[in-house]
Amino acid sequence: MEQILANGLYLGAQYALIALGLTLIFSLMNVLNFAHGQMYVFGGFVTYTVVAQFGLPFIVGLVASAAVLAVLGGLIEKFLFRPVIRRSKREESTMLLAAGIAFFLDAVILLLFGEKQRGVPKIVNGVFNWDMRIIMPYDRILIGILAITLIVSFILFMQYSRTGRAMRALAQDRMAAQLMGVDVDRYSMIGFALGAMLAGLVGGLLVTITGINLGMGGPTSVKAFLMIMIGGAGVISGAIAGGFILGMMESVGLTLLAAYGDITYLVIFATLMVFLAIRPQGLMGKPWG
């Protein structure tokens, strides 16, 4: 039991961090960023290149991932999403753009980093073993703690910094924020860069544990969609809740349903659909987000 909870917590922390970036972008611009998973993969490869190829310390790789992705995100927002959003009649149209960017990043990743699975050596060795009740390798604990630290600092940033407040205002009511003198373009760009940066950071963190390959992008996006759907789209607390709930569901579900094997994920997904049918806006979402 303790093991299941520990697994769920660890999974939840990494999931929540992925979902945060996605939900931030969604709340600011109403864009469902299909390319989020690819950004995560990109971040992972940047860390891999810095750490495994250049032989620099892990933290440098992590910073590099964050920086590269933040710049990439900012550019994508300024030169791609902004003009399209301004000119399209239905805002869903950005989905095609997002999907195009996802494909494009896939292609770039394949050309730049190759098709192989990549990983960097463990940053700490050893396994924490509490009387066989909780078994958790130290590097996982470290990554889990780092993820939670990042989540907390993100919340603090959103809550107390000027930029964070501006972005929250923007998310609540774009028009009102604009009227109150918030520079919408500027903060949309910062928000997108921040969201992309978060994706890159998770990629950099997880490359030490799960490694990275170019196929992980699409499925990661879909998983992140699930999380923000559980928690409520566009709500920060919702994304965190969604991440932890999905992590727990997988951890518990996989254990309880192990005997039935093939249907584990079927049950997880079906439960989600039923849950949403009952609560259409997720746990904490605004209705009709």
Binding site: Y10, D106, M132, G215, Y265
Partner: protein, 395 residues
Amino acid sequence: MKRRVFLATTGLSIALAVTASSAAWAENAKLKIGFVGVTSGPAAAWGISNQRSMETRAAWLNELGGVTIGDTTYDVEIVPFDDQKDPKRAIAGMEKMAQDGIHYVVGPNVDDGAAAVRPVAEQNGIMYFPYAFPKELYTPPASNAILGMVANYQSGPAIYKHLMDNAGVKKVAFVAANESDPLSQRDGGVEAAKALGLEVVSDSVTYQVDTTDFTPVLLPVIQSAPDLLVLSGVSPANAPQLIRSARELGYTGLISTETAQDATVLMEGAGDLANGFISVGGASTPELASDAMREFVDRYTNMFGEYNDESNTKVYALEYILETLKANPAAIDDVEAFKATMDTFEAPNPFMVGDAKLTYVGTTSFGQKRQVSVPLVVNEFRDGKFETLFVAQVD
């Protein structure tokens, strides 16, 4: 209005340019061999290692002056098609091969694609070499598919038997991704294990291919305390993570798979924890590789920057096509002649030391010779390299 005309003409000229460029190659005597497989997206590694093996070998042969079949010397040209792991695209790829007058195609890489291209291949007289295991592709009335590697239902029993005899394995557990190929391979593996008298302690656990943490997946499996953990149809991306999670959960038994893996990927992803991992490979371990195989690896590395050990099993299909064509030049545009030659064909295996032979096998499994005979080389991972555990033959 002008803008519209402009866009229309650009579109048209691009379309024309594309069709023109695709019709331009036809000067020298070229022998086109097709490749239909997945070279983008999540499973890109399978197809890319496959396509690059073919391209490496083709460039090498052309450098040596080409391949002489009958009285004509040909330059080998590989025509690739990316099916994106989508069976519908795979059909389109096979149609394109037929259009190009190609009769020999390597691929597709997965079960559904291989099944989907069967009607096209049979209607257009194309022999194809899938890396997919369903028996109905190779048993009559199907006759145009040739299995390009050793199937799991052939390698699995050999590995289990070896481990029963040499490592005292009694209890075995299976884990597979919840996709067609791995699940079919798991079912085949379970059957084989039971037939050998092994106790199957867990065979129902599956995982999504995009899993980022395998601890919850493996927890119930490890609790069933197997001596051998089989990762059925595991992709090279998932293998190191599964191994690592299993070891970190305190599992000390053996781990094996029936698919080909890459040593670098294992080393990066699992490090020393992967030591002792058993997988199926080709003939590139130092004990077995011939000079030709070593040169192949060098050339591949020079062309593409980095070798992929999965290519060890994928170097053969092109060789078989070319050697069979040499044995019977009439087969160059007549697959019936090819099929007739297959029954008696024999040529030396250039990639292995000793007197290994290239022949077609499969009578036991399929009732007809529809499989390339590649050595069943079972490898053990040790400190970043593969070591040969044992070698067997499939009949």
